[in-house]
Amino acid sequence: MEIPYTIESRPDTGLYNAKLGIWLFLASEVMLFGGLFSAYVLLRVGAEPGMWPHGWLNVTFGTINTLLLALSAITTLLAWAACKVRDFTKFKIFHACTILLALTFLGIKSYEYHDKLIHYEVQLTNGKFADGHLIEKSKDFDLANKTGSVTLHGRIVEDEKDLMDLRTPAAQSAKLDEVTIAATDIKKMENYGPKHNTFTAIYFTLTGLHALHILGGTVVIFYFWAFGGAMWKTDPERFTNRIEVSGLFWHFVDLVWIFLFPVLYLT
C-alpha cells in the first residue's frame, strides 16, 4: 500500500506529511527554547544589582556568526529553489556553501568556548580578585596543597563587581599584564565555564543547545548533499520536499540565533 500525501499536499491541510511533521516538531522546539529564554529573563531580573555581566562576549565574533547564519539561510533557500527548477548542480553548490558556513560557525563558537574555558577569576586571600587568561601553571601547582603558582594575562581588581561590566570606560582602559599568583595567595580559582555564575550557565546552555541544533542540521544537509542523488533520479519531487523540510528546520535554528545574539552579546 502506498502512503498518501508524501509528495502532494493533503487537500484539507494544504500540507504534505513531512511538512506537517516538521511544523509539529518546530512547535515543540519553540517551547524548548522559549523555556530557556524565560529562564534567562528570570535569572537576569533576579540578579543582585551590579552582578549581571555586560560585555563578556566578543561582539565581533557574534556579528560574524550572525552573518554566517544569515548567508546560510539564503543558500538553503537557493538550494530549494534550484531543486524546484530541477537544477541538481546548483543545488549541490548552494548546499555545499551551507555546510561550509555552518562548519565555520561551529569553529568560531568553539573558539569562543575555548576562550571562556581558559579565562580564570581568582579570589585572593587578601580579598582582591585576579582575572585573566591562563598563560601557565607551574609544574608543582596544586591548589589543594597550596604549592606552585599560576600566571594569567589580566589584571587585579579590588571588588568582584569591577569585573561585571566590561563596557565601562574604566574597564575598557584597564591595562592587562602578566600576573603571577602563588597558590598560597589563592582562596578560590575558577574558569568562566558553565558553573562560574548564572550568566555563564545560561550562556553555555542556550548557545550549546543551539550549536547542537546547528550540528544536527548540518549532518542532515550533508546527507542530502552527499547521498541525495539516488532519490533525485527516481523521485525529484519528493527530494525537493525533503530539502524544503530541512530548510524549514535550518531557518528555525537561524531565527533562534537572531534572538540569542542581541540578548547575550549586546545587552
Partner: protein
C-alpha cells in the same frame, strides 16, 4: 507555511536585527558599526524584495 513564507519572516527579523544593532552601536558611540548596521538593514530589505520577485510563482503555503 512554505520555506518561502518562513524565509520572508526570517528576512523581516534580520532587518529588525540590523537596525537594532545600528541603534545599539550608535548608543555605544561607534559610528562605523552603526553605519554598517544601517547599510546591512538596507541590503537585507533590497534582498527581500529581490527574493520575493524571484520566487513570485512559489506558494506561501
Amino acid at each position: 507555511m512554505s520555506l518561502k513564507a518562513f524565509h520572508l519572516i526570517f528576512v523581516t527579523l534580520l532587518t529588525a536585527l540590523s537596525f537594532g544593532c545600528a541603534a545599539w552601536a550608535f548608543q555605544s558611540g561607534s559610528l562605523v558599526w552603526g553605519a554598517a548596521g544601517i547599510a546591512a538593514g538596507i541590503f537585507v530589505i533590497v534582498y527581500g524584495v529581490y527574493f520575493l520577485k524571484k520566487l513570485k510563482n512559489v506558494s506561501y503555503l
